[in-house]
Amino acid sequence: MKGTQLGEFEELILLTIALLYDDAYSVAVVEELAQRLERPMSLGAVHRTMQRLEEKGLVQSRFGESTAERGGRRKRLFTVTTAGEQILQEARKVRNDLWAGISKAAFGGGVV
């Protein structure tokens, strides 16, 4: 995991974007995450993070269709780039390795 660092919130958002494939835009991400994490999510925070991810080249964006509900404004749709995918894979691998390395005695009060 050299180079670009990925924060926890960034990782969550990146994963959500991947999950919502083809319909990943800010409001959708906010709702999805709010529902899954069961905590209110600030639109601003999500926006900032998505901007940052884009600057890091982990996602790319295009304008989607406009709806009446949005006052005729278009939404910006995000997709995960190859770099984004790579970094997610790496993160997952690190975690898996960590999980695999945890001895059974570590959790559950240990063996008496």
């Binding site: 409001v27 709702e31 884009e54 790319q60």
Partner: protein, 896 residues
């Protein structure tokens, strides 16, 4: 159709709060606005359906507030797919103080400066001179304003003063009766400390066979703490014992070298032996209280029995200064009300005179000692502050003149820079960036000028110190100095750059690029106005300088009524008085001296004023009329070299002369005496016979009216011995001859003599300082203005190269061309003169108002300055004009 359907509710479709939407649109970066606003709207509707619209509205606002993050405001879009860490940002829309932009501005400014070296030199040089003068004046003002601030009790220290009415005029004085100090201390709880002090005089300090003449005071022991004198070494209460002396570090070093002076003995005035009890730091030069040593207040009574005899309880003789420190929280007004009648209450025995004099005691705060110490008719009318203000204005003038140069040169060059502005605008530069560029250019120039100005100040400060008799230094270690300097530089830069920045940035790119703008007449009008302003300042300064100079000369040329050259005065002492006759005989025997006399003040000053005179026909009120008094013995008139008008000098042949008096003409006039000689006057009840009348001799201020004078015969009221040197003997030879005789009869003192003509010259030092300063400032003002004209003329000539070429081809002579180019400037200078003359006239008549003996402002001065200004202008402009006129038209017309 029912009503509900026909008129649907206007707000059938719920909307988010409009104000938040409006703010959103204002604040958010334009490239983010669409998606952000869309998101907020979408969330609003979703939430509205889910929780109701009221909550949705609240949440909308909440979300909006949470969006207020710098990342989401007016931030430029980060180009997608851009390579990271690029240097080549798209800066076209960047706010103008973006660091990258500033680097760019500075680079361009530097290139411009290097490209036009003469222009840059004129600009930076002129500005540097202006700034240097302003800085010097600033340093001088700081020194004046900060006077006495080093005393820790600055806020609570006061000097006791007194108003008194004499002959219908209310005067204010520092001199107070001897018992004042003890009275204030004993009876008024307002005072934390009280110290009386004498006026200080030169006294001799003798250690072994070394003699020193130093200046010091008798002062109350409270003074040490009141004035927070820094005791370097010795007793903390060093003035408690009467036979002690406190030296400054400087004096101690001069007398004792590197030895420890504490406990050493020295002889004062050849009369008493004193023990050194402390060494204190010498006071800074701008302090009011100055001394080489301090003596205990009560030593006076022990040294001079007349003080104990006449002054200990006498409230009628005012001869001492009184300083007080108020307790914290006591207001001076309260105290003033309490002490108002301190003197009056002790003078009840002579009710009539007292009622007339109406002595009223008050305290004057230390903060006002230096700059606000003038009183007129019992009111504080300012004082030296007017010179501080005057020079403050001068400094500002110079700075403005220098800034105007900058503005004029920049705008004059606008045609040259117009193309640059056009291209920049066409490429996409905004106006604010152009303003930014020009301002940073002028700030850069101001900064370079600052560096140069600092160098000039460093070089000229020693001379300035000599001129002003100060010891000022640049306080490089003071952060305030740097803050002020930087703010001042920035201010100068902004002031100088403001006009060109606004003017140049307003150009229309299309017009410029199409065919080179003809900035033309409308643009040169403000420039002309600025030149007029600049020259008005310079001309006011020139006229002022000439009038000040004339006034000084007027004072110097005033007939003084006695022979000032070859007259020396020597501080008298007990030994000299005792051996006066022997001294006189021996001096006369040398042949180097023609006459010698005793008096109570040197010939260039009158130290005593007295009332209590009565004359034939005088009213009781007129007993309060004050006459200047010289106390003397035989040979005074002769020695000083006064030509008698009537009567004779005091003579050894008339024993009655010991109660005689000689009057000056002003006194005769004041007493309205028709035949003064032989008239019997009364002084404090005792008869005095007028033996002679002298003309009005000028011993006090060369600018004031000569006051009525009485010369009284008093045997031992002596402070000075005056010696008239034989005119056929060179004074240096005479001094060598008389010095050993003085040493013989005055063993406790070094032979310290003063030539009265050099002493007299010192009376002009103050006016001369003002004169010299304003001369220097006006010279510089003219210089800077001419520098500007020179630059302007060169650009005018350059601009009109083609025109001049054509004129020459068609047969114009060099003189024609010269006239063409000079005409404009001559007009401007004449206008400036017209504007400046009334201003200068008004200012100078205000200045002259303070002098009784003064010049009338003459029309000739204005004419002379006009001619001078025209001459200087023509000299400046002609160089460029003739250069342009001599240019070969073939060259100037051969096109690009």
């Amino acid at each position: 159709m029912n009503e509900e359907q026909s008129t649907p509710k206007r707000d059938a479709i719920p909307r988010p709060p409009r104000w938040a939407q409006y703010l959103m649109e204002r604040i958010t970066a334009s490239h983010l606005y669409e998606e952000l606003a869309g998101d907020l709207d979408e969330l609003f509707h979703k939430r509205g359906r889910r929780y109701g619209y009221t909550k949705a509205r609240l949440l909308y606002v909440w979300d909006f507030l949470l969006l207020l993050h710098p990342r989401l405001w007016r931030r430029e879009p980060t180009p997608y797919f851009k390579p990271r860490h690029t240097r080549y940002n798209d800066i076209s829309k960047t706010f103008f103080f973006h660091p990258t932009m500033i680097r760019n501005y500075l680079k361009i400014a530097f290139r411009n400066l290097l490209k036009n070296k003469s222009y840059s030199a004129i600009n930076i040089g002129g500005l540097a001179v202006g700034m240097a003068v302003a800085m010097l004046i600033g340093i001088w003002i700081t020194d004046e304003v900060s006077a006495n601030k080093h005393h820790k009790n600055y806020e609570t220290l006061y000097q006791v003063k007194m108003h008194q009415t004499f002959d219908g005029r209310r005067g204010t004085q520092d001199a107070l009766p001897f018992p004042m100090g003890d009275e204030l201390k004993a009876k008024y709880p307002d005072f934390k400390a009280v110290a009386m002090c004498d006026w200080g005089s030169n006294r001799s300090l003798v250690v072994g066979n070394q003699k020193f003449l130093k200046d010091g005071h008798f002062i109350g022991q409270d003074a040490i703490d009141m004035f927070s004198l820094n005791i370097l070494n010795g007793d903390k209460q060093p003035l408690k014992e009467p036979y002690s002396i406190v030296l400054t570090d400087e004096t101690a070093h001069a007398i004792f070298g590197n030895q420890d002076p504490i406990g050493k003995m020295l002889k004062l005035d050849n009369t008493v032996d004193l023990k050194v009890t402390a060494v204190v730091t010498k006071q800074p030069k701008n302090a009011t209280l100055q001394f080489d040593y301090l003596l205990p207040w009560h030593l006076q009574e022990k040294m001079y029995d007349w003080i104990a005899k006449f002054h200990k309880t006498n409230w009628g003789n005012n001869s001492w200064a009184t300083y007080v420190q108020l307790k914290d929280g006591i207001s001076p007004e309260q105290t003033n009300a309490k002490i108002k009648n301190v003197v009056l209450s002790h003078l009840s025995d002579n009710a009539n005179t007292v009622k007339l004099i109406k002595p009223e005691v008050f305290i004057h705060p230390m903060a006002k000692w230096r700059l606000y110490s003038d009183f007129e008719e019992g009111k504080n009318t300012g004082g030296f502050i007017k010179y501080v203000r005057l020079f403050g204005i001068f400094g500002l003038f110079i700075l403005v003149i220098a800034c105007i140069n900058f503005m004029n040169l920049s705008t004059a060059r606008s045609e040259k820079r117009a193309k640059e502005v056009g291209v920049r605008k066409a490429v996409g530069s905004g106006r604010e960036q152009l303003i930014g560029q020009f301002l940073s250019e002028s700030i850069l120039i101001a900064t370079m000028a600052l560096v140069l100005a600092l160098v000039i100040v460093l070089i000229s400060l020693p001379y300035f110190n000599t001129l002003t008799e100060k010891t000022m230094a640049i306080q490089f270690d003071s952060p305030i100095f740097w803050v002020v300097t930087l703010v001042f530089t920035l201010f100068t830069g902004l002031l100088a750059g403001s006009y060109p920045a606004l003017y140049l940035s307003s150009f229309n790119p299309v017009k410029i690029l199409k065919g080179g703008v003809h900035v033309g007449k409308s643009a040169s009008l403000p420039r002309k106005v600025l030149v007029v302003v600049q020259f008005t300042f310079s001309i006011v300064l020139m006229i002022g300088t000439i009038i000040i100079y004339q006034q000084i000369q007027h004072g110097k040329n005033r007939p003084i009524g006695f022979n000032n050259s070859g007259l020396i005065s020597v501080n008298s002492s007990k030994d000299l008085i005792e051996h006066f006759d022997a001294l006189r005989n021996e001096l006369l025997a040398t042949g180097a001296v023609t006459s010698i006399c005793k008096s109570n003040s040197p010939p260039t000053q009158i130290w005593s004023n007295n009332n209590g005179w009565e004359w034939k026909g005088s009213t009781p009120e007129e007993k309060s009329v004050v006459f200047s008094t010289i106390a003397t013995n035989f040979d005074y008139i002769n020695t000083i070299g006064i030509k008698l008008k009537e009567g004779r000098d005091f003579s050894r042949d008339f024993t009655t002369d010991s109660s005689g008096v000689i009057l000056n003409e002003a006194a005769v006039k004041r007493m309205s005496l028709k035949h003064p000689v032989g008239e019997i006057l009364k002084w404090n009840g005792k008869a005095r016979k007028v033996v002679g009348v002298i003309p009005d001799i000028m011993m006090e201020s060369p600018y004031r009216a000569i006051s009525p004078l009485t010369i009284v015969f008093e045997k031992d009221w002596v402070s000075f011995v005056c010696v008239r040197i034989n005119p056929s003997v060179a004074s240096s030879v005479a001094i060598k001859k008389i010095a050993p005789i003085f040493d013989k009869y005055n063993p406790g003192f070094p032979f310290d003599y003063k030539f009265s003509d050099t002493e007299y010259a010192k009376k002009f030092s103050y006016e001369e300082l003002i004169g010299n300063l304003s001369a220097i400032i006006s010279l510089l003002a003219v210089f800077i203005s001419c520098l500007g004209l020179f630059g302007l003329a060169s650009f005018m000539a350059e601009q009109r190269t083609k025109e001049i070429g054509i004129r020459k081809v068609l047969g114009a002579s060099v003189a024609n061309v010269w006239r063409l180019l000079s005409k404009d400037f001559v007009q401007l200078v004449i206008i400036s003169c017209l504007v400046a003359s009334p201003i200068a006239w008004y200012a100078m008549s205000q200045w002259l108002k303070d002098y009784t003996y003064k010049i009338d402002i003459q029309f000739g001065v204005f004419l002379m300055v006009l001619i001078m200004a025209l001459a200087i202008t023509l000299l400046t402009v002609s160089y460029q004009a003739i250069k342009a006129a001599l240019l070969n038209p073939v060259k100037s017309l051969k096109s690009e």
